[in-house]
Symmetry: D2
Subunit: 101 residues, 4 copies
């Protein structure tokens, strides 16, 4: 296995910075975009597609950036899926479900 591909989902909560979190989420979007990952923001997180190492380096960078922005604590939830039987993109996953609706 050279590079393990992953489809991930990330939601990040900075703690101790008040009730409005959107500027912190926006900062993470920028980190993920600068990492040249395929991403798609949704209402409770961001889908991310790419090589495992690149995806998780970007997620680490999100934590660092939120701390640099002043968040004393950052908690995230990551879902990560890998498969070796075949290639599958984020769009493939969605299409596969929609075909069966």
């Amino acid at each position: 296995m050279d590079q393990m591909k992953v489809i991930a989902d990330l939601s990040v909560i900075p703690i101790g910075v008040g009730v409005s979190l959107s500027k912190y989420v926006a900062a993470c979007e920028k980190v993920l975009n600068e990492a040249e990952l395929d991403i798609k923001l949704h209402a409770y997180g961001t889908n991310i597609e790419g090589d495992w190492d690149a995806v998780f380096a970007a997620i680490k960078r999100c934590h660092e950036v939120l701390h640099e922005m002043g968040a004393p604590r950052v908690s995230c939830v990551i879902k990560a899926g890998t498969r070796t039987d075949r290639k599958q993109t984020m769009d493939d996953k969605i299409e596969s479900v929609k075909k069966k609706l």
Copy 2:
């Protein structure tokens, strides 16, 4: 608090039914649609918006339906967010981030 509104995210994994899960995810989409909830499928789950009781009744029904379809085990991950300071829809959340990009 009459009805507590919730924005949730659900991903469901039936266990012991092989490697292709899309027909089970599609069955859950139908359950959520029949419950007349606002939903949006993404590549690692489904965003759901509605009253707490309606949302969680539908999630319970997803587990029941997957068992009825033959899955001996079902594992789900739910993220659920409530707020009392103001109303906010799923679209509001996404717009709020996009404005800051």
Copy 3:
């Protein structure tokens, strides 16, 4: 299916109440205890075992209590596992893994 048993895991983050969250987590522990559920606190959440309806009623109550304590936003992550092939407790799950170590 009369009562569907569930083994769940709950972690709750009140947002907008500062950096120390332990008193809110303790309040949730009390809610879960008063619901007479089997629970076990760990370093990133609480395992909960019981009937689906009782477990999710208690989780809803946790959100309500944290709002009553002053949290304008509450975000939780729930993992929930159900199985129809056999009974299994939280201790069974842990023993089953430990036997294979």
Copy 4:
């Protein structure tokens, strides 16, 4: 920030290998132990404490090992918390809650 400490929680589901998952969970426990991380198995995952890079390298290795054991798909859920205001261990977190019960 030299090494960012993290308290994490990992649950892993191999997909397409049948209904019994404990041997796969045990294999992950071995990976985490060999990485010399502080870990604590619970009924819905494993708490992990260590340097960010070491923790996430071990989580990647878990995915690789499960694929090597024959799982065509692996899905995991990771919760990860970092803080810059003070040091805190997994035991500290639990004690902090228990003192308030």
